[in-house]
Structure formats: structure tokens, C-alpha cells
Amino acid sequence: MIINHPILGPRDAQEFIYLGDASLMARPDGMAADAIPTFHDYLYQRDNPAGEHRELWYHEQGDRSWLVVTRNTVTHTITKVELARDVARALGRST
């Protein structure tokens, strides 16, 4: 596969490490009163769609950026590649 890196352009997927569902970025507050059930869902409840999937890839043999890649798991078509850092900021994780 080829991942169109937002900074570096098309790069071979062999350079990347795959992590999984991008929902892993939505880490809940560990100090909240209901943290245990919330973290359970955060860590273990994942969708496994046959189709479009937002997932985390790490450019280990590249610029060490984490990317959010929107990929169709059936066709492998990649429709969007974002810097995870930008996505995290958009999720309001800056503070």
C-alpha cells in the first residue's frame, strides 16, 4: 500500500507501523469518578467495519509522525490522511 503522507507525499506502507482504530486518541479522563467503565469501553469496544475505517499509522521509518488514515478495509482505498497531532488538537486534546 501507499500512504500519502501530508508532509512527505506518497510513502510505502512498509515504512509504517499499524496501531488500530483512531478512537484510541479519545482517551478519557483518568481522574473521573467513572473512569474504570469509561476506560474499559475506550480500550476494548471497537468497531471493526468492512468498509471505511479511521486508523492510526506510525511513520517509524520516516519522520516519526502518527497519522490518521481513512482506509476502506475491503478495497484498501485510502481517502484521507491527516497528521494525528492535528486531529488530536481538533478533538480538543490541547489542554
Partner: protein
């Protein structure tokens, strides 16, 4: 530099760097380069660019290298560069850069983290297409990228059509040289 009693050895384990010639290809170990990583602190990105400019330290664009009189650099990741300088003059590159950038940047000595091979040949494409997926033909001079050479994570810099620099992890210097030599014979 202070005079001390320890004698350096090259990544290949010798007193002096080695150059290997295979056909038209030369693989030269470089032992005269000081390296340090430089990363902008958050909110200091503009300041870092300003200081670098004032210090005649060229900061390379993404996937590029840059050269200057005293310093060169290549891009590592967002807001992070590897700074190259002459070792004899700047063995203490970390201290010098810290002096220049103060609290605007995080500076870390990297000199001995890497072995550097400068590879020259009349046609480098057949050699490097056996080593890594970099499209040398399409890359401009100055192109710099991390890449994998036989399982070894390296930085590759295209200095010119006839000269490519490979930085590899120092501990794998022998393995890296071996694969470059093997590819040079295979061309």
C-alpha cells in the same frame, strides 16, 4: 577542546576512517562530522527560524537538506532537524547550539549515534535501487529522507547525482557497509 587521554575509534572500529572502492563506486566512511538534533520548543518555532537565520544555520525544508558555511542540516520531523558541522571545529556542537538557541530549542548531541558513509559512483541509481525504495532519479539534489536499508533505519541525503550520504546507526556500521558493498558488486 580539553586534551584528554581517550583515543577515538571509528564506527568500523579503526583509528582512521576507511574508503572502499568497488568498480566505479567509492564508499567512504566519514569521521569528521559533528551532529546534534535541534527541535523547536512549543511556541518557539518562529524564534528558532529567526535565530537560525541570524546564526547562518540553514534549516532544511521537509524531506530536504541544506548546507551553509559552518553548519548544514537535514529535516528529521516536524520542527526537528539534524545539524551537521565540522567535528574538529565543533566537537562540542551541543553546547554551542544551546548557547545560540537558549530555551527556544531542545538540542541533543547525536555525533556518535551515527555512522556516515559517502557513496559516490558514476551512476548511483542501480546501486541504491537495490538498497532502498528512494526514487533517486526523481529526487532533486539536497533530497533527504529516512529510509530502510536491509532492515536498518538510515537517513539518505542526495548531495548530487554522483554523491549520496547514508547515515546509519553506529552500532550497525559493519552490517550497513556490508550491504552497500554487496549491492555495489551486484550492480
Amino acid at each position: 577542546m580539553a586534551e584528554h587521554a581517550l583515543k577515538p575509534s571509528t564506527a568500523l572500529g579503526h583509528d582512521a576512517p576507511k574508503t572502499i572502492t568497488i568498480g566505479s563506486c567509492q564508499i567512504a566512511e566519514r569521521f569528521d562530522v559533528a551532529l546534534a538534533s535541534l527541535a523547536s520548543r512549543r511556541g518557539q518555532e518562529g524564534n528558532v527560524v529567526k535565530i537560525a537565520k541570524a546564526s547562518k544555520l540553514p534549516l532544511a525544508a521537509p524531506a530536504q537538506s541544506a548546507t551553509g558555511k559552518s553548519f548544514g542540516s537535514f529535516w528529521l520531523s516536524a520542527d526537528q532537524w539534524m545539524i551537521e558541522a565540522d567535528f574538529a571545529a565543533r566537537e562540542n556542537i551541543e553546547a554551542e547550539l544551546k548557547g545560540l538557541f537558549g530555551s527556544a530549542a531542545s538540542i541533543t548531541e547525536q555525533t556518535d549515534a551515527w555512522v556516515r558513509f559517502d557513496v559516490t559512483a558514476s551512476n548511483l541509481r542501480p546501486l541504491f535501487e537495490r538498497l532502498c525504495n528512494v526514487d533517486l532519479e526523481k529526487s532533486d539534489d539536497g533530497f533527504a529522507s529516512r529510509t530502510v536499508i536491509e532492515h536498518i533505519g538510515c537517513y539518505l541525503i542526495k548531495r548530487s547525482t554522483a554523491l549520496v550520504t547514508v547515515y546509519g546507526p553506529r552500532s550497525s556500521a559493519q552490517s550497513l557497509l556490508h550491504v552497500i558493498e554487496t549491492a555495489a558488486r551486484s550492480v
